[in-house]
Amino acid sequence: MSDVLFLQWVKGPLFSIAVMIFVIGVVLRLAEILSLGRAKNLAVPKGNPSLGGWREIGRRFKVDQGTFQQNKITVIAGYVFHVGLFIVMFLLAAHIALIKHSLGVSWPNLPTPVVDMAAVLSMLALVVLLIDRLSQPVKRFLSRRNDYLVWVATFLPLLTGYMTYHHLWLSPQWLLGLHILSVEALLVLFPFSKLMHTFTLFLSRWYNGASMGLRGVKS
């Protein structure tokens, strides 16, 4: 297959399929989760549950000192990775154009070198996190195939995107094609892996926070 055919294929039908699997999958997974319901709590509340829910969604972005001291790598690399990924995904002009194309909304973009730097940091952080996962007993013990698969699936779009921007190794068509393909793999994997935490994290924090709010626990 020539690079152009490949690019057309991944950019065309494959991308639509991937996005559709992603959307269907995410909606399905959320339905799966929400359908299980939550019993009404009859205890007299000491605080406001939903306020607690919202507060906890925000509060969990912060890590307490003690936990930070014990999880420096996880926290710092985790933050660098997530912030970097966010910048790359949502503040690169090309990605904004894609979002505008498919959803019709757009916002200002960042200068490309900033995004480039974010991508590099994000990848470095991912490498650090992988090394940490392999060397730290708890993480290694907890890790399933899914965790490594998701690591690869997250790393590849960053790497191929970086290579596409810098024209490394292959023709830009190949690289852009591989980049899009890697994103498609990520999209397809998303609903059926721990990548779902991107969405369910807010649910989880809210549920936990609501329970804390009910009990008047302010963290």
Partner: protein
């Protein structure tokens, strides 16, 4: 009635799994940070003690029953089933090395309430019969005798007599229409009778009507600890019935963390309706009295003193500021531990661990975390507000040859209480 079985266990778990749990499992990224939040792990750094790992059986039940991919895996025969062997292995993780302290639930970056899940997993462990003997014993005694430690009413009456003799104070039983129904824990009756004396003194001094119930004096709830709603419901119903019979306004939960959780948070859900009375922890009541100016104190403790937050009070109960308000009344040299309040470390004995002989060794290891906190501070006195914690702390300190007195908060306040007749006398002197 059929016997407990794996099938019943799994069925129970299926009934327990709700949207929050599904969301929590979906959110876990295996970051391992919950391990660092758990003193059972930090003091026994074995990876399997990582809180989220303790939930593996439940995770499998969820995945295989409530997710598309999991169902597919089952169909394809590649899903790892939950077996009896697995559950017996997990008994140690679910009971011995978890005090339901909730610290991991606070730390988890994605917001998973691991404690909530462990509590629910225990329901399945119970239904499948994978429970520690000690907890079964405690539950049996609680159901059959009325208290997990096997204390019956006469024992309490004997203690009451003691107190009445020593203090000149009347301890009312079954006083209908009293404002407060005071509940106790067996530990207080057996180990810390001064608690009852202190509460009595304070309430009487504040001019409040209060009473004990001869039908039900025990507030601890082994059903909560073992993780059986059926048993817990029976036990909590006794309190509700007694309170409603006496038509009290408020039921006071004793200085015992899980008793508070059982009464305050789980009770209404277990009986399936809201209470007709309020349920409060003694510390909350004391702080209310302080606010109302009904808690006059005199003198200050000069000793350097710190406060151990009982987990169920702070993280699972929202009672953080009240004990500090109270300590301010009586202590001039109060210092906080590095991680305090909602972040406080568990003593290592909550959530049924103290009642579980299998956990004796591991719970003392977990105490090392508390020891480290105390070592940093070098205090003269350790105050707490939970009898269960107090026992563990005392045992732990002793085992570690630390000469540090542990004091109940209520007693400490009572010691500094300015008694009303004294006030009257003094005013008369004026």
């Amino acid at each position: 009635m059929s016997e407990l079985s794996l099938e019943r266990g799994i069925n129970t778990l299926k009934a327990q799994i709700d949207a929050p749990i599904a969301s929590f499992f979906s959110s876990c990224v295996s970051c391992g940070m919950c391990a660092s939040a758990c003193s059972f792990y930090t003091e026994n750094p074995e990876p399997r003690y990582t809180p989220i790992y303790k939930l593996e059986p439940m995770r499998r039940v969820w995945e295989q029953n409530f997710t598309l991919l999991g169902k597919l895996k089952v169909k394809l025969g590649i899903a790892k089933p939950v077996t009896d062997e697995m559950l017996s292995q997990w008994q140690e993780l679910v009971y011995n090395t978890c005090s339901l302290c909730g610290r991991c639930s606070l730390i988890c970056p994605v917001g998973n309430d691991i404690t909530y899940m462990i509590r629910k997993l225990r329901e399945g462990m119970v239904a499948s019969g994978h429970v520690p003997e000690g907890l079964v014993g405690a539950s049996t005694r609680a159901v059959k005798i009325g208290s997990p430690m096997g204390i019956k009413l006469p024992a309490l009456q004997a203690q009451v007599k003691h107190i009445e003799k020593a203090t000149n104070m009347q301890v009312p039983f079954d006083l209908e229409g009293a404002e407060y129904l005071l509940m106790l824990s067996s530990m207080e009756i057996m180990n810390y009778p001064e608690y009852l004396e202190a509460v009595g003194k304070i309430l009487t001094n504040a001019g409040k009507t209060w009473t004990l119930s001869s039908e039900c004096f025990e507030a601890t709830n082994s059903g909560i600890q073992i993780g059986s709603s059926d048993i817990a419901k029976e036990l909590v119903s006794r309190v509700v019935n007694a309170a409603e019979k006496l038509k009290v306004k408020t039921v006071i939960s004793p200085e015992c963390g899980h008793a508070y959780t059982a009464l305050r948070w789980e009770g209404p859900n277990l009986i399936g309706r809201p209470y007709s009375f309020a349920a409060k922890h003694i510390v909350e009541v004391l702080d209310e009295l302080r606010e109302q100016g009904l808690l006059p104190t005199e003198g200050m403790e000069d000793a350097k003193l710190t406060f151990h937050d009982p987990c169920q009070l702070v993280r699972r109960g929202g009672v953080v500021q009240q004990p500090r308000n109270l300590l301010k009344l009586v202590a001039s040299n109060f210092v906080e531990m590095t991680d305090h309040g909602t972040l406080n470390w568990c003593c290592g004995a909550g959530g049924g661990v103290s009642a579980n002989e299998d956990a004796n060794e591991v719970k003392m290891k977990a105490f090392q975390r508390k020891k480290k906190q105390l070592d940093e501070l070098k205090v003269d006195t350790l105050v707490t507000a939970c009898a269960n914690c107090r026992i563990q702390l005392e045992e732990g300190l002793e085992e570690n040859q630390m000469d540090l007195p542990v004091v109940g908060l209520t007693e400490l306040i009572a010691e500094h209480l300015v008694e009303r007749n004294t006030i009257n006398e003094e005013s008369r002197h004026d």
